[in-house]
Structures are given as C-alpha cells and as structure tokens.
Symmetry: C2
Subunit: 124 residues, 2 copies
DNA sequence: GAACTCCTTCGAGCGCGCTCCAAGTCAAGC
DNA sequence: GCTTGACTTGGAGCGCGCTCGAAGGAGTTC
C-alpha cells in the first residue's frame, strides 16, 4: 500500500493540490485523508481510486453538490445501493442527452465548415 | 421578413430576453439590432439565424470570447474566410476530443452502474 | 388620464468551481 | 542553528456566463 504526498497525488490524478484540498473540505472525499506526524496529508490507493471516480463524475459534468451527495451515500455504507444506482442512472441519462445534443449541434457546425472549405479552396 | 420583439425572439431562440441583450452588448451580434420608433428592439430573420449559430457554438462549449472573435470576423465581411475556417476547425477538434473523453468516462461509470444493478437485484 | 404592459439602460449580484495568498509549521541538509 | 522546501489553514479572489433589480419611457385600454 503506497501512501502519497498531496503533490504526488496531484500528479497522479491530474488535479492540483489546491483542488484536492478543496474537494476534501467540500465533502467530496469518503473520509478525511490520513496525516503524517507532520500534519501532511497521505493519500492511499483507496483515496486515489475514489478521486478517480470523482474525476469521472466531474468530467461528465456532474455538479459538485451531486458528487457530494453520492459521496455521502457511499460513506454511509451498505444498504443504500439502490439510491446510489438511481443517482448514477439519472446522471447517465443526462450525459447521454447532452452528448446527443452536442453531437447534433456539431453536425450543423460541420455544414458551415464545409461551406467555408468550399469557399477557401473551391474545386471550380 | 418578420420582425420580432425581444420577448418573441427569446421564445424562438430559447434564450431569455436578458441573455439576448447581454449577447448584443457583449459584441456577439453582427450588428446592433434594429429599433422600433419606441426604442424597442426588432429582431429580423437574419438576426435569428445568427443567434442560432451563436447558440450552436455556445452549446458545444465555445467560450463567449471566441464567439465574439468569430462574430468580429463575420462582421468584417469577405476576405477572412480562411480565418473563420481555422477558428471553426479548431473548435470542432476540441469538441470531438471532449466528446471522446466524456464518452470514455461514461463507459467507466456504466461499469459501476452494472455492479450496482447486480447488487440491487442479483440474479443469484 | 390612470392603469397596465412591455420594453429600455445601467450596473450590481450570483452560482459555480476552482485558484491563490498569507502566515505559519515541520523535517532534512548543510 | 539556519536555510530550504514542502506542506498546513482560513479566507479572499476570480473568471465565466448569465441573471436580476431599479428606475423610467412608450403605447394601448378603459
């Protein structure tokens, strides 16, 4: 079991140390990160795995407050799996709708691009 | 050629009147929207078409400042089509990368969902 | 002509998600 | 013992994209 400083954890997760501290004080972590005798944070593999999940939720657009709710459910422990599932299913639904919308707007933009491409280096 | 009040334009575009005014004063429109003798804005079909393009750029995540740049190029008139094309191509590239990233994170979340689904109503 | 509705401008405010700063602590190296 | 560097906390600040409020004007309805 490795145990990383905040700088190392930042590097591994792609977040900044600032953000890691912010996530912790904002209730996004499952529990307070352990401390060395110096008071410095020590991130475990479990912490990193959880941060990866948080990153996935965030990268797919889940608001901080919903990640916090999800974290609270996981923190509570066994028994609320159905609630966690609901939350994730609702999120997936939303993300899929957004993907479809962005894709459709992108196709429209593609048409515009095609027009400009024709204009900039016309075949005729 | 129809000509709409700001409330009607808001309804057609799905934006709020507040946002339409904001876009105009922030330089996202191609020109100042025409006014009735009362001073009220009158949106033309051209205005609506442009707003639709702006909406597409925004919906695909283009920052306001880049939309403003694009609007400035279009406003300048003929001769900078290559620049406009560059801008749109760069945007498309970015959006496609983001779509891929979101999709990949979503797949990972799907695995989590599958685990919970199994747990909540197990086959065994 | 009073009330009502729809609009105007200017500027402040807000929610989100960080991002940064100041002042201090601790451990290691010289 | 002093310096250096990585860390700590609390709280302020910021960039983005709206969003809203106040005060007022124009036009219609009764």
């Amino acid at each position: 079991m490795t145990s990383l400083s905040i700088a190392e954890a930042a590097e591994r997760t792609g977040l900044t140390a600032h953000t890691l501290r912010y996530y912790e004080r904002d209730g996004l972590m499952l529990r307070s990160v352990e401390r060395a005798s110096s008071g410095h944070r020590r991130y475990t593999d479990d912490d990193l795995r959880w941060i990866q999940m948080v990153t996935r939720l965030r990268a797919t657009g889940m608001p901080i407050r919903d990640v916090r709710r999800y974290a609270a459910l996981v923190r509570e422990g066994d028994g609320n799996e159905a609630e966690r599932l609901d939350l994730l299913l609702a999120h997936r639904e939303l993300v899929e709708r957004q993907l479809a919308e962005v894709t459709s707007h992108l196709r429209a933009i593609d048409h515009k691009i095609a027009l400009y491409e024709h204009q900039v280096s016309p075949a005729s």
